[in-house]
Symmetry: none
């Protein structure tokens, strides 16, 4: 909904977040209703439109999926405050990924993110999209302002890999495994890759580690 | 606006606040638009209507005024988090007072409250009423919960692997790589394994993931 986009922009402007990336918005862009809901703070937020989520996060080092429903998957789940702290401690370019109002994110979209943020709720969760965006933006601002840098991720000379680098590695792994007939003929391939993706995505892999893993794949699949 | 009331109720329901007191609402009460915006969580929030603010807060032990604009008065001003902590620490019946969307609270209304809560903002503040209510309700809930459990690692049916399982996997990986002459003849082997160990150790691998990785090693090193 356009109003959600507008309210999200308003939340971002208030909390100092600058880049909004829309993935194929149903309401098109630019949009008059969104401008109204944002209280005309549009100039404080850069909006870019992407065709798909993969492109939208390609240059980011860290992505975080927001979800209300506990899923049956292995993943690190943080509160907004802990997520904000993690983003700040990594000092990296991070994206917070929201699904649409009706369905949220798919399992596949979630497993492509590095970790999950879940907004605490009493009994059940029914925050709407704009509320969820506000709570998380607010947590990011508070973490930025605060002196609670209790957590740091030291990477020495290397740095956290971009999503594009990670995707290259994961796709390469999948291709190599497929070449070797690793996957059973049924539909388990996607599920098996999801398990591996979950694990590598939550690790905050560095560029150096991505290189190492590419070397490992090469090493293991080399014919002796 | 009725929608603000509805969104406030939704925020309250999500965060476990139970009593909403409306002071001579322009839109009347009950109101259909508010019910819609609250996502029909009405039954979780008690609504009472009062003629004036004095009556509305008469039975409370502590009241806290919300304001976006710094006023020229002497008053204690707290962040939402500090305000929530204060309310919780006093264990008293407290009310958080919001003005209307357009004008906020008057100076007189503010000075009748025990302290002020101001929501931090970057540059200028333009949270709308529903956003302000949400941020403060959320802070109260988080303070009530304590900030324990800020982080969870959900593993579904599997659980975090033991160090023994991890060691088995890492040693197996090293052996397989050595078999394939992956390591150069010099002393780099230890360093290369250290990089990989670092990465896998910080991941909190689950038993299921260890199994998957053993499968991956098998799959990659299989002769076709």
């Amino acid at each position: 909904m356009a109003e959600n986009t507008g309210m999200a922009m308003r939340a971002m402007a208030n909390t100092g977040l600058k880049n909004l990336r829309l993935v194929s918005p149903l309401h098109g862009w630019p949009n008059a209703k969104a401008a109204l809901a944002s209280a005309e703070k549009n100039d404080l937020v850069n909006v870019q439109v992407f065709e798909n989520l993969t492109d939208a996060v390609a240059d980011l080092q860290l992505t975080c999926a927001t979800t209300a429903r506990p899923r049956n998957m292995i993943h690190e789940v943080l509160t907004p405050e802990a997520a904000a702290e993690k983003i700040m401690s990594l000092g990296s370019s991070a994206g917070i990924v929201f699904g649409n109002e009706k369905n949220g994110l798919t399992n596949e979209e979630i497993s492509n993110c590095n970790f999950i943020v879940e907004i605490p709720s009493v009994n059940f969760s029914s925050y709407n999209l704009a509320q969820a965006v506000l709570i998380i933006c607010y947590a990011v601002m508070m973490s930025k302002n605060g002196n609670s840098r209790s957590r740091q991720f030291k990477t020495g000379k290397t740095s956290i890999a971009t999503q594009k680098q990670l995707e290259y590695f994961l796709n390469h792994l999948e291709t190599k495994l497929a070449d070797r007939n690793y996957f059973p003929p049924d539909k388990k391939r996607r599920l098996m890759m999801q398990t591996l993706r979950n694990m590598f995505k939550r690790t905050s892999m560095t560029t150096q580690e991505v290189q190492s893993m590419l070397g490992v794949i090469e090493g293991l699949s080399k014919l002796t």
